[in-house]
C-alpha cells in the first residue's frame, strides 16, 4: 500500500471509530470492475491547472450515456475542459464513443461533429426537436452549445439558430417538458460571474494555497429557462417564469414532480447559497418554495456546498425524495418528501456520519444489485488541500452504499471494499452517469476525473432479476422525461422516474430499471405521464420492455 493509501486508511479508521473500523476493514466481493481502457475509452480530462488555481479548473467533467446512434445501446460522450485562459480553438474537443453493443466502445474520429471546444462543464441529452434521436446540450465556462443529431450520431451545432447560447458559466442542464406541450424545454443552471481578472488567492487554515469558494467572488449567476417553440428554436422565459426571483451558485439540477400535481418541478442545488425548489404552477410560472419545503438549507440554517443531486422515491411511499451531496465535513442532505414539505432525514437513513468523509460531486440512486432497494454511489474529490502532497492532492476514493431495510426503515450501509471496487481508485472525481452499457441487466457507471482518465465501472455484483422499461411518447420517437413508472414487485409498490438529467454535470440512461430480487414478474405497471395523466399497462416478466403512451389499458 502506498503512503497515501495508508493515510487514507488511517483517516477512514479514525473517522469510523474503533468498532466500526474493524467492520470497515472486512470486505465483500467487489461490486464493480474498472474497465475504461480495455473497453476502448482513451479520453483524458484536462483542467489546464498550471500552478495558480483558477476556479473553473475544479469544476468540470461532464458525461453522457445515451443512445446517440439509435441502435438501442448506450453511447458515451465526454466533456473536455482545456485551459481557462486560452482561445477556445486551442482547447481539445469533447469526445464521442459509440457502443458496439457489448459495452465496448469505438471512438468516433471527428467526434461526429460534437467535438465542442469550449471550456467544458456538463451535458444534457434529449430529443428537443422530436425527430427520433437524442440531441446534446453542452454547458461551458463561456457560451454553451446545442448539438443537433441527424439520427446517425452526426451532430450540427445549432446554438445560434436555436437561441440557447447562454454565455455565463453553465453547469447543470436538463431537457424537460415543463408546459406539457409535447416539446422538451431547456433549463440551464449557472454557477457564477467569474473571469480570470477577479480570481483571488485563497488559503486553507494553515495557509496552504487552494481554490477559493464561490462566496469569495460574491457574484452568483442567474439560471436560464428556455421554452421550446416547437420549431427548433427556443425563447428565454427566465423572467416571465419568475426564475429571476432567486438564484445562487448553481451546480446541481433535477426535475421531478415533488408536489404530485402532475407538473414537473425543478430543484437547483447551489454551492454555499440557499437552494431553490421551483414548484411548477402551470403556464410556465414557477414559485421558489425551498424555504417552506425545508430544502433551502440544512436544519442548522447552513446553506451547504450543494453539488450533485439525486431524486427518487427512496422509501417507496409514492413521492419523490431528494438527496443533495456536499463538501467534506458536511453531511449529505436527504430530504424525505412528506407530501407538502421535506424533512431532513439524513441521520435516519444512516448518511450523517458516513457521508462526511469526502467531498461529493456526482451522486446516483440506483439498484445496482437488483434487490429492489435503491443503492447509492458518490463520486468524490476534494476542492481543498490541507497539506501539500505529491500527485493529485485533491484525490479521494469514491463511496458505495447498499440500500437496506432495518427496523422497517430505509438505511444506507457502506459497502467494502471502498467504492465497491477491488483495487482502490483514487482520483478527483466529478461527473457521474449511470446505465447498463453492456445490456446484462446490471447498472454500470461512468465517473469522470479531473486531469485523468474516466472510470468505466462495470457491474459485477451478484444480482437479482430485473425489468427495464423504455417509457416513450405516443409516436415512439422520444423518451418521456419526468414520467414515472410504478409497479408492484413482491408485494411492494415502487416508483422509478425517467430522469436522464441529475447527478453532477451528467446525462444518464433514460430507461427505468426495477430490481426484482427473486421475483420474475412486475405487476400492475402504471405510468404517470407529464401532466399527471396515469395509464395502466398490466404485468410484465423480467426483461426489457417498452411502455408507449396511449398503448396501455386505460386508466388504472
Amino acid at each position: 500500500m502506498t503512503r497515501t493509501g495508508r493515510r487514507r486508511g488511517f483517516a477512514r479508521c479514525f473517522a469510523a471509530g474503533s468498532a466500526l473500523a474493524l467492520t470497515a476493514c472486512s470486505a465483500d466481493a467487489p461490486w464493480f470492475s474498472e474497465e475504461a481502457k480495455e473497453r476502448g475509452i482513451d479520453f483524458e480530462h484536462r483542467s489546464g491547472f498550471d500552478g495558480r488555481p483558477m476556479l473553473p479548473e475544479m469544476m468540470g467533467g461532464g458525461v453522457a450515456l445515451a443512445d446517440l446512434d439509435g441502435d438501442a445501446d448506450l453511447d458515451l460522450y465526454l466533456v473536455q475542459s482545456g485551459r481557462v485562459d486560452a482561445p477556445v480553438t486551442e482547447n481539445p474537443p469533447n469526445r464521442l464513443y459509440l457502443n458496439r453493443g457489448d459495452g465496448r466502445f469505438d471512438p468516433v474520429p471527428d467526434n461526429g461533429g460534437a467535438g465542442d471546444r469550449g471550456y467544458g462543464m456538463g451535458v444534457a441529452a434529449g430529443d428537443y426537436d422530436n425527430d427520433g434521436d437524442v440531441d446534446l446540450y453542452v454547458t461551458n465556462y463561456g457560451p454553451n452549445a446545442l448539438l443537433r443529431n441527424d439520427g446517425t450520431a452526426r451532430f450540427t451545432d445549432v446554438t445560434a439558430a436555436a437561441g440557447v447560447g447562454d454565455s455565463s458559466w453553465g453547469t447543470a442542464a436538463a431537457f424537460l417538458d415543463l408546459d406539457v406541450d409535447g416539446h422538451l424545454d431547456l433549463m440551464v443552471v449557472n454557477y457564477l460571474h467569474w473571469t480570470p481578472s477577479i480570481e483571488r488567492d485563497c488559503y486553507e487554515r494553515a495557509f496552504f494555497p487552494t481554490y477559493c469558494g464561490p462566496t469569495v467572488y460574491d457574484a452568483p449567476a442567474m439560471d436560464r429557462l428556455y421554452r421550446n417553440n416547437g420549431d427548433g428554436t427556443f425563447r428565454d422565459i427566465t423572467l416571465d417564469a419568475g426564475l429571476n426571483a432567486a438564484f445562487g451558485n448553481g451546480l446541481g439540477l433535477v426535475g421531478a414532480d415533488f408536489d404530485n400535481d402532475g407538473l414537473t418541478d425543478l430543484f437547483v442545488a447551489n454551492d454555499t447559497t440557499t437552494n431553490q425548489l421551483w414548484l411548477n404552477r402551470g403556464g410556465l410560472r414557477f414559485d421558489n418554495e425551498a424555504l417552506l419545503w425545508g430544502a433551502a438549507m440544512d436544519d442548522h440554517g447552513i446553506a451547504k456546498a450543494g453539488m450533485g443531486v439525486a431524486a427518487a422515491d427512496v422509501d417507496d411511499d409514492g413521492d419523490t425524495d431528494l438527496l443533495v451531496v456536499n463538501l467534506e465535513r458536511q453531511t449529505d442532505s436527504f430530504f424525505r418528501n412528506e407530501g407538502a414539505y421535506f424533512v431532513d432525514a439524513t441521520h435516519l437513513v444512516g448518511l450523517d456520519v458516513a457521508s462526511r468523509r469526502y467531498t461529493r460531486f456526482g451522486v446516483v440512486l440506483a439498484d445496482f444489485d437488483n434487490d429492489g432497494r435503491l443503492d447509492l454511489f458518490h463520486a468524490n474529490g476534494n476542492v481543498q488541500i490541507s497539506s501539500p502532497s505529491e500527485g493529485d492532492g485533491y484525490a479521494q476514493p469514491n463511496a458505495l452504499f447498499r440500500g437496506v431495510i432495518e427496523d422497517g426503515s430505509v438505511r444506507f450501509r457502506e459497502v467494502a471494499p471502498e467504492g465497491g471496487v477491488d483495487a482502490p481508485l483514487v482520483h478527483t472525481s466529478r461527473g457521474l452517469a449511470v446505465g447498463d452499457v453492456n445490456g446484462d441487466g446490471g447498472l454500470d457507471l461512468v465517473v469522470t476525473n479531473r486531469d485523468a482518465a474516466p472510470y468505466l465501472l462495470m457491474n459485477r455484483v451478484r444480482r437479482g432479476n430485473h425489468v427495464v422499461f423504455r417509457v416513450e411518447s405516443s409516436d415512439g420517437r422520444r423518451d418521456m422525461h419526468a414520467a414515472t413508472a410504478r409497479a408492484t414487485v413482491g408485494g411492494l409498490r415502487m416508483s422509478r422516474e425517467v430522469q436522464p438529467s441529475a447527478s453532477y454535470l451528467a446525462a444518464s440512461d433514460p430507461r427505468v430499471h426495477f430490481g426484482l430480487g427473486e421475483s420474475v414478474v412486475v405487476r400492475d405497471v402504471v405510468v404517470r405521464w407529464p401532466g399527471g395523466h396515469a395509464e395502466a399497462f398490466g404485468d410484465f416478466p423480467a426483461g426489457v420492455h417498452t411502455l408507449r403512451q396511449g398503448e396501455g389499458r386505460g386508466r388504472p
Partner: protein, 549 residues
C-alpha cells in the same frame, strides 16, 4: 436611511476557503443567551442520571461510590477507544513512536507555509518536552491544533492530556465536542460521560448531551438531558431542546407552545426554523412561512459555552485572521484590532503591492480598516484604506470600504467616486451597485438610483435592503404599484423588516388600497415601529379615506 429593526443575515461561508466580504453593518447570528453562570465549581455528589433509557422522568442520583465506579467504567471505555485508535494508527503505518507514558505529542502543521503557526506549534511542542508528565501543555497543544484546523491531532492531544490530568474537565469535554462536530455522536457521548464524571454541573455539557442523543433518535434520554440542563440554569436553551424533542416525537402542538414564547424573545434563527417546522407539520402554512422566513439566517444549535472560549486564543496565522473577522463582524471590533495588528507583523503591508501574493495582505489591511470603522474610529479607517490603495489601486474592497466610510461622513461625492471604481473593477458585485444606489438616492438622483438598485437586484434578487430602497425610490417617483411590489417582496423575505411593513402601508394607502394598508400598518405596529410613525401614517390613511368618493 437604514431600515430599523432590520437584521442583516450573516451568511454562512466556508472559512477554510473564503475571504468574507466585509460590511461595516454585519451582525453575527446570536447564540442563545446564558441565564446563569456555568463556571461554578462542581458540587460533590450532585451527579444526575446521565441517561435514563427507561424514560423515568425522575432518574436516581448516584452516590460517590457509584460515581467512582462509573468513572472506572468510563475510563475503561476511553482506554478502549484510545487503544483502538492506536491500533488504527499502527495499522495505517503512521503510528508515532511512544517515548513516555502517553507517547510523543502528535505532530501536524509543521509543513504549513504559515510561519507564525509553525513557530507557535513548535513552542508548544517544546513546552511538552519540558513537562512530559503534565497534562496542561498537551491540552494547550490540542487547543492550538483545533483552533488552527487540525482536528485529528487535536483529539489525540486531548486524549493524552486527559490521561495525564484526569481531573481536568476540559480535555474529555473538548474531545467530545470534536467528535460531535464530526457527527460521531455515540463517541461524543462516551467522551462526554468522562467529562460529566468530573463536573456534572456544567449546563452546556448537558445541552450537548441532549442534542447528540436527539441526533441518535434517543428522544427520551435527550429529554432527560435537557431537563438536567434546565435545573442547572440553562432554562431558555433547555426549553428549546425540549421543543426539539417534541418535534422528534411528532408532538407539534406542544412544540409550538414551547417555542412561541422563545421566538417572541429571541432572534435566534434556529428557534424560528423549529417553530416554522412545527407550524408546517400542523398545516398552518401562513405561520410556517413567516417563521421560516425569519429563520433564514444561519444559526447552528449553540449556546454560550465559556469553557470553550479559551481555545481561540491559540489561533495563529490564517485561523486567527478568520477569528478576528468573526469578532469584527460580531460586534467585537475592538478585540479584533490587536489580532489584525499582530498579523501585520507577519505579513508586512508592502506585500499588498506584490503581484504574486498580494491578496491576503491587502485583505488583512482592509479588514483592519473596517474594524476601526466598526469601533467608531473613522479617521484611522480612512487612512488605512487610502494606504492600501496607494499600494494596490486595483483592489476593489479598498474602494468599497472607502465609499462606506465617506458615506458615514456624508461626503457623497467621494463615496460615489470610490464605489464607481469598485464597480469598474468588479461589475458583478450586487453589493456595490446597491451601495451606489443608496448614494445616488441620498443625492436626490432618483432615476439613477433606481437604475443602480435594479442592477443590484438583477445580481442579488433576494437582497431585502435593496428591495426596500428600490421601493422607496419608486414611492418617491409615485410609482405606487411598483413600490408596493418591492415592499411586499422585502417583507416576504424578511418579516422582521419593520420599516418595510410601514412603507408598504403607506404605499398601499396612496394606491387607495386602504384595507390592505391598515393591515400592513398593524404588522408595522407589531414589529415595533415607533408610535409617532404609526400615528402619522394612520392620519394619512384617514385623509386618504375621506378623499375616496
Amino acid at each position: 436611511m437604514t431600515p430599523k429593526g432590520k437584521r442583516l443575515a450573516a451568511f454562512s461561508v466556508r472559512p477554510r476557503r473564503d475571504v468574507p466580504r466585509e460590511q461595516p453593518t454585519h451582525a453575527a447570528a446570536p447564540a442563545l443567551p446564558a441565564t446563569k453562570s456555568w463556571n461554578r465549581p462542581p458540587r460533590a455528589g450532585s451527579l444526575p442520571a446521565a441517561e435514563n433509557p427507561s424514560g423515568d422522568p425522575n432518574p436516581r442520583v448516584p452516590g460517590e461510590a457509584e460515581r467512582r465506579s462509573r468513572r472506572r467504567k468510563i475510563d475503561i471505555r476511553v482506554f478502549v477507544l484510545g487503544a483502538a485508535f492506536a491500533v488504527c494508527l499502527a495499522a495505517c503505518g503512521d503510528a508515532p513512536r511512544p517515548t513516555s507514558a502517553v507517547g510523543e505529542p502528535p505532530m501536524a502543521g509543521m509543513d504549513s507555509p504559515d510561519e507564525e503557526l509553525r513557530h507557535y506549534l513548535n513552542e508548544l511542542t517544546q513546552s511538552i518536552r519540558a513537562l512530559p508528565a503534565s497534562g496542561l501543555p498537551r491540552g494547550r497543544l490540542g487547543m492550538a491544533f483545533e483552533a488552527n484546523g487540525f482536528l485529528a491531532p487535536a483529539l489525540a492531544s486531548y486524549d493524552q492530556a486527559a490521561m495525564l490530568a484526569p481531573e481536568d474537565f476540559r480535555w474529555p469535554y473538548f474531545g467530545a465536542l470534536l467528535a460531535g462536530r464530526e457527527g460521531r455522536f455515540q463517541e461524543a457521548l462516551d467522551r462526554l460521560e468522562s467529562a460529566l464524571a468530573i463536573d456534572a454541573d456544567y449546563a452546556p455539557a448537558w445541552l450537548w448531551r441532549g442534542d447528540w442523543l436527539l441526533q441518535l433518535g434517543r428522544s427520551e434520554a435527550a429529554r432527560n438531558a435537557f431537563r438536567q440542563a434546565e435545573t442547572l440554569g440553562a432554562e431558555t436553551q433547555a426549553a428549546f431542546g425540549l421543543a426539539l424533542v417534541d418535534i422528534a416525537k411528532e408532538r407539534f402542538a406542544d412544540a409550538v407552545a414551547r417555542l412561541e414564547p422563545l421566538a417572541a424573545e429571541s432572534r435566534s434563527a434556529r428557534i424560528q426554523r423549529a417553530l416554522g417546522q412545527a407550524h408546517r407539520a400542523l398545516g398552518d402554512v401562513k405561520a410556517a412561512r413567516r417563521a421560516l422566513a425569519r429563520g433564514r439566517a444561519p444559526g447552528r444549535l449553540e449556546w454560550d459555552d465559556p469553557r470553550q472560549e479559551q481555545k481561540m486564543s491559540h489561533a495563529r496565522g490564517y485561523a486567527s485572521f478568520d477569528h478576528a473577522q468573526a469578532l469584527s463582524s460580531g460586534g467585537r471590533a475592538r478585540q479584533a484590532i490587536p489580532i489584525f495588528e499582530r498579523l501585520r507583523q507577519w505579513h508586512p503591508d508592502e506585500r499588498c503591492a506584490d503581484d504574486d501574493s498580494h491578496f491576503f495582505t491587502c485583505n488583512l489591511l482592509n479588514s483592519l480598516g473596517i474594524a476601526h470603522a466598526r469601533a467608531g474610529r473613522l479617521a484611522p479607517a480612512i487612512e488605512i484604506a487610502r494606504q492600501g490603495l496607494a499600494l494596490r489601486p486595483d483592489f476593489a474592497p479598498f474602494h468599497v470600504s472607502l465609499a462606506s466610510h465617506y458615506r458615514e461622513q456624508r461626503n457623497w461625492a467621494r463615496a460615489l467616486h470610490h464605489i464607481d471604481r469598485a464597480i469598474a473593477l468588479n461589475p458583478a458585485s450586487g453589493h456595490a451597485h446597491a451601495q451606489r444606489g443608496r448614494l445616488l438616492f441620498a443625492e436626490g438622483r432618483q432615476a439613477e438610483a433606481k437604475s443602480a438598485f435594479e442592477t443590484a437586484l438583477g445580481l442579488e434578487p433576494e437582497a431585502t435592503t435593496t428591495l426596500f430602497y428600490l421601493g422607496t425610490v419608486e414611492a418617491a417617483l409615485e410609482n405606487w404599484p411598483q413600490a408596493i411590489g418591492h415592499f411586499q417582496r422585502a417583507v416576504e423575505l424578511d418579516p422582521d423588516l419593520a420599516l418595510g411593513h410601514l412603507y408598504l402601508a403607506r404605499a398601499l394607502g396612496e394606491d387607495k388600497r386602504l384595507d390592505e394598508a391598515r393591515e400592513a400598518l398593524e404588522e408595522a405596529r407589531a414589529f415595533g415601529v415607533p408610535a409617532a410613525e404609526i400615528n402619522a401614517t394612520n392620519r394619512r390613511l384617514r385623509e386618504l379615506a375621506s378623499s375616496v368618493p
